[in-house]
Amino acid sequence: MKPESIYFFGTCLIDLIYPKAGVSAVQLLQREGVKVIYPQAQTCCGQPAWNSGYRNEARKVARAQIQLFPKNIPIVIPSGSCAGMMKTHYPELFKGEPDEADALKVANRVYELTEFLVDVLKVQLQDLGQAVEVAVHTSCSARREMGVADKIEQLLGQLSNVDVKEQAYKAECCGFGGTFAVKQPEISAAMVTDKTQHIRATGAAQLVSQDCGCLMNISGAFAYQAEHEGKSAPKAQHIAEFLWERTHG
């Protein structure tokens, strides 16, 4: 059943670097007749600290978030990784804490954006754009933590002018991994270099993903290779931005 209203959690990466993805996601949701509530006190899900082993610090930040969603309505997040943090790791993070029940209430209402668009809103999209070939990168957290790996393809399948090209090693990690990219730069670099090669080999002009962490990593490598090695740089966009651009009149 389609909810009347939802909470939107934009994520810190979108807030600071990719706000257009956030705005597009809100517009997609609103167009389906859903009232979007964006609590202005939101900051970050706490994942960077959680993955670095700083659990107390992560909990402090997470605690500030769980208070922002008091109504029993869905919480929609345009990122598999932040959604995975709230849905699967908040229960661990708050285990035995006085506000464990609040954390569980939040975790149970979390949806990743493409999952919500497909499974809950059952959107029907009309393609208004030019013919384009697109490669899809599904983040590891969307694939394995959230189990929503096929949702982007389901959405793109509705767009008559979009041709999805599949790259080799599609399910392999792009090498971002948050602090991994900083703590193991050589291994991370080898991973993202391979990823860009496989995507470029499809000939797709465009890459979409549901996670801005992966996009920052892959598009950063594309831009670097364009500048230093004269290679082509497919345009990289968050799926929300791509969908909104192609479907709004």
Binding site: G22, I37, Q40, A49, N51, R63, F180, Q184, G220
Partner: protein, 473 residues
């Protein structure tokens, strides 16, 4: 306490030449494809994983009782049981048995626990020859190396390298790069050794408490020969390898080779239930089992870390790891490489020695997705990262917990948590940052060695949605 070691890998050098890296990737790809082909029906795979997980979890939940039962039944079967808390004790036990028989050589089937013990080195220092009979182990022993994979120890070597190695070590044998001929040569060399060796050694895949049976999975028959031809057989294994019942075996045997090499079943499956009986014509006259702890009971004491001990050493997590495929097994500097090594080694030997390994993961989850006993490897890595910087070190059995806490890093996270839990501070900071975005340097160290620096937006999402009038109750 040992000085914390650093783990930094030069990917270009780790596996050597480009061709070797490509060969290695292809080998891993084949293993992944073979595994996938063994499990065409995902529902059936998930059901089998659930069974395997339950069998291993059940065994661990009664570990002390099952170990006692195992010992009782092994003794009934005529097997001599030895307990070793440390690898040194385990080595001494093996040495003691060898000395009793005045044995100067030992022929070995594949055993990762013996690698853990450093047994070959230990025996060689005492004038005892330890000869590996598994083909992969034989190859790396010739080259003075250690295994780079837990089930395919020589997977890092190309056919050409192996041909050259054989030619160098056995000049009498004509040079060939034909795999069958190389295998045949190794077979011939080993055959005589089997008959000459006074003692054979093997690992154990499953030890059945109910019947006192030691199960051994293998492909080459060298395991059967190591355990049946020499008059004395010594099996070494970790205390976690016990399962409760004989009826637990089929599920585990069904999922192990399929996950490991993508074989429906291995060529050999040995069930060892004691030494030769008076009316029997062959088999060893003495069978020993050495049960090694080496930190396992410490892992056992923590309900979250305990899952590590469910491992059946199939290697699937290694085959599917995007880090392992790029750096190879030796880069880890451990006995067990890849994801299983990443969680097991720091727990075995403390966070000082191998604690940096836990940073060598993007937490992509490919390992946990294929693990036949559903060990949540990324979660355990996360937990060990916590252990490595936590202050309440008394609440974890992990040794040297907290020793990787660096004051600058800790202070940074503290400041971050204050800012990100105080909306006014966060909003002020993010707004200011975007306003000053021109000042963000283009050189961000490691990040910008292969990527351009990300650019902050002109206006944050907070600001834009406010302008658009999106509700913010």
């Amino acid at each position: 306490m040992a000085k914390p070691t650093e783990f930094r890998v030069d990917v270009e050098k780790a596996l050597g030449k480009t061709e070797i890296r490509a060969h290695f990737r292809k080998a891993m790809d084949t293993l992944m494809i073979n595994r996938r082909n063994q499990f065409p029906d995902d529902a059936a795979l998930q059901a089998l994983r659930t069974q395997a997980q339950a069998i291993r979890a059940n065994a661990l939940s009664k570990l002390p009782e099952l170990l006692q039962q195992l010992e009782t039944n092994l003794i009934k079967n005529g097997v001599q049981v030895h307990w070793a808390e440390t690898t040194d004790e385990a080595n001494q036990i093996v040495l003691g048995i060898m000395q009793k028989h005045n044995a100067k050589s030992i022929i070995k089937g594949k055993s990762m626990v013996s690698e853990e013990m450093g047994l070959n080195h230990f025996l060689e220092e005492r004038g005892i020859e330890a000869l590996e009979s598994d083909l992969g182990e034989f190859i790396i022993q010739l080259d003075g190396e250690t295994p780079s994979h837990i089930i395919m120890p020589a997977i890092h070597k190309s056919k050409e390298q192996i041909s050259a190695l054989f030619h160098e070590k056995f000049p009498d044998i004509p040079y060939t790069d034909n795999v069958d001929e190389l295998t045949a040569s190794a077979r011939r060399i080993l055959r005589d050794k089997f008959y000459a060796a006074p003692v054979g050694l093997s690992g154990v895949n499953f030890a059945v408490a109910e019947t006192g049976t030691l199960c051994l999975v293998e492909n080459e028959g060298n395991g059967r020969m190591s355990t049946t031809i020499p008059p004395v057989h010594i099996a070494v294994t970790g205390i976690e390898k016990v399962v409760e019942k004989l009826s637990d075996i089929p599920s585990l045997l069904s999922i192990l080779p399929r996950s490991a090499t993508g074989q429906p079943i291995t060529t050999y499956f040995n069930m060892i239930s004691g030494p030769r009986k008076p009316d029997e014509k062959d088999g060893p006259t003495e069978v020993h089992l050495v049960l090694l702890d080496n930190g396992r009971s410490r892992i056992y004491s923590d309900p979250e870390l305990l899952a590590t001990l469910r491992c059946i050493r199939c290697g699937a997590c290694i085959n599917h790891c995007p880090v392992y495929v790029r750096i190879g097994g030796h880069s880890y500097g451990t006995v067990y490489p890849g994801p299983i090594g990443t969680i097991l080694e720091p727990q075995k030997s403390g966070l000082s020695v191998h604690g940096e390994l836990i940073q060598a993961s993007s937490l992509c989850g490919a390992c946990g997705e294929v693990c036949p006993v559903r060990i949540p490897i990324p979660n355990i890595i996360n937990r060990l990262r916590y252990d490595s910087v936590r202050k309440d070190t008394e609440n974890t059995p992990t040794q040297e917990a907290g020793t990787r806490r660096k004051s600058l890093e800790a202070a940074t996270w503290k400041a971050w948590s204050w800012a990100a839990s105080t909306p006014s501070v966060y909003n002020f900071g993010s707004k200011t940052a975007t306003q000053l975005r021109g000042l963000v340097p283009n050189n961000l160290g490691a990040w910008t060695s292969v990527r351009s620096a990300p650019k902050l937006a002109e206006q944050t999402l907070h600001q834009q949605l406010k302008t658009l009038g999106v509700d913010h109750e």
